[in-house]
């Protein structure tokens, strides 16, 4: 069975326990630890889990709307917030715990992490080849004429330049940008 399937089955098994048992907020850390350890044992990594399965796991542990409503009714006099705010806070606290535990088990791999030996300056052979392919997409500019003009500093016809100078004279005395 492939790894993805095993990750899904583990998540389903883990979710099943909450249908009958407790999913109290105070138990969230332990519950997440249990799931992430199982995923880790399967050889799953950050990239396998972060975008697809972690949000599902967090959602499983977040309270059902009915539970939120009943709890809110019981607590509302002392809580001082609306039901929506109460629900958001609760969900956010579960999400924060899930993320926190996840990063303990699966530290985020830096995007630039490259374990290959550095062959070209600070680059691995793979990175270097990718950079070359990338740079080859851009056409090379022929700067011959531009350089000639730059060196001769004759980009403007002097006669036209003088006339233009007369028309635009007012702007040249002002150093600031508009």
């Amino acid at each position: 069975m492939d790894k993805t399937k095993l990750i899904e089955i583990t998540l389903t098994q883990w979710s099943a326990q909450f249908k009958s048992g407790s999913k109290k907020t105070k138990d969230a850390r332990l519950n997440f630890e249990e799931l992430f350890q199982k995923w880790k044992d399967l050889g799953a990594g950050f990239d396998d889990l972060y975008e697809t399965y972690l949000p599902k796991a967090i959602k499983v542990h977040q309270p059902a709307a009915a539970v939120v409503r009943n709890t809110f009714k019981t607590l509302k006099s002392s809580y001082g917030k609306t039901e929506k705010e109460f629900s958001d806070d609760w969900n956010a606290s579960i999400e924060a715990t899930g993320q926190d535990v996840f990063f303990e088990f699966f530290p985020a791999v830096p995007l630039d992490k490259d374990d290959e030996p550095k062959v070209y300056g600070n680059m691995s052979a793979t990175e270097y080849r990718a950079q070359r392919r990338y740079a080859d997409q851009f056409p090379t500019l022929d700067t011959t004429e531009l350089v000639k003009a730059w060196r001769e500093q004759k980009q403007y016809n002097p006669e036209v330049d003088d006339k233009l100078e007369n028309i635009l004279g007012g702007g040249n005395s002002d150093e600031t940008n508009s």
């Binding site: 630039d112 600070n122 851009f138 090379t140 007012g170």
Partner: protein
């Protein structure tokens, strides 16, 4: 006592928090386009733009100077993958300006001030800066380098990471330094190496790195509009291979991609080790060259102009060198095998 809505509005107005005045665009405003006042305004702006172009200064070499006007009121963003030449480019920008006796401020939050100076001196002497870093530079050469420091420091001023306890990594420190050189007006250019390290704030230590970078980005956008010199900002890029070879530069800029907005010119540096050249890819350019690249030779730390023929020649030599190197390795393997 309960205030009436009018009284509330009046109080808010006094506090400067009143509603924004309703925007008015009259037909007269629209019809006035083309009158003497609007013509004068447009011509004045054309004059200012032309003057700005006329005040362009050298950017590394003739090929880059001719292609990309390097002048005031512009923010030049030079980006590269780590170790691909940001600090080398900084030295290459500073070097010709020093030779022309133009003052430059280098704000370096990565390299030390002595390394910034060392790089520039190496360019003048034709020495390899990396030899010094690896401990392979003879003492005679080091002496020649440091003897140039007083001369260079007349025109090149460096604030490094040790300045005022790391002020070059703090948004407020960068702003103050830029404001100071703007007031002084004798500076030809400011370089900041590099953007992503300016992630702290003195005033609010709770702000995230992104908040600080974004704050600086917005401030720079205002600053350059009246800047008396070009501002060069270096930035780190994510690896091309990890970003799937995306051609769009925005996706590869680290930490605060919106720095592309105030930048008037964005150039990516890509070294080519096979033919000892570096490519300067122009991603954004208010002067109209975006989407192209300029190929420069890389000799003794300097980016030099090369013709197409020279590039072809360099490629041939590069391939020959690669074959030689492979043969050497094979020979060594055979020798070791026999041994």
């Amino acid at each position: 006592m309960k205030l009436t809505p009018e009284q509330i509005q009046a109080q808010l107005k006094l506090a400067g928090k009143g509603p924004v005045a309703e925007v008015q665009v009259s037909l007269d405003d629209i019809e006035s386009f083309g009158d003497k006042a609007s013509m004068t305004e447009m011509l004045t702006d054309i004059g200012k733009y032309k003057k700005m172009l006329a005040e362009r200064i050298t950017l590394i070499n003739d090929a880059l100077s001719a292609t990309i006007p390097f002048t005031r009121e512009n923010l030049y963003l030079f980006c590269a993958y780590t170790g691909s030449g940001k600090s080398t480019v900084a030295a290459n920008i500073t070097y010709p300006l020093w030779k022309q006796k133009k003052k430059t401020l280098v704000i370096s939050n990565e390299e030390s001030k002595q390394d910034v100076m060392f790089r520039i001196a190496c360019l003048d002497l034709g020495l390899n800066f990396n030899d010094y870093k690896k401990g392979n530079m003879p003492n005679e050469d080091i002496l020649k380098v440091v003897q140039l420091f007083p001369e260079i420091s007349n025109y090149v001023k460096v604030l490094d990471v040790t300045y005022q306890d790391g002020l070059t990594t703090k948004v407020e420190g960068i702003k103050k330094a830029l404001e100071s050189v703007k007031k002084e007006e004798s500076y030809s250019c400011v370089l900041i190496d590099y953007f992503q390290l300016i992630k702290y704030s003195l005033k609010d230590q709770k702000r995230t790195g992104y908040d600080n970078l974004n704050d600086l980005r917005i401030w720079l956008g205002q600053y350059i509009k009246s800047s008396t010199m070009p501002v060069v900002l270096f930035a780190q890029l994510y690896s091309v291979s990890k970003k799937g070879g995306a051609k769009d530069i925005d996706t590869r800029l680290k930490d605060c991609t919106s720095i592309v907005e105030p930048a008037t010119v964005i150039i990516e540096i890509v070294p080519n080790f096979d033919n000892r050249t570096s490519e300067f890819i122009i991603h954004k350019d208010r002067f109209g060259r975006a989407g192209n690249k300029i190929v420069c030779g890389f000799e003794k730390g300097r980016y030099i102009m090369v013709s197409d023929d020279e590039v072809v020649e360099r490629e041939k030599l590069g391939k020959l060198a690669a074959v030689d190197s492979k043969l050497d390795k094979l020979e060594a393997m055979v020798r070791n095998g026999k041994a």
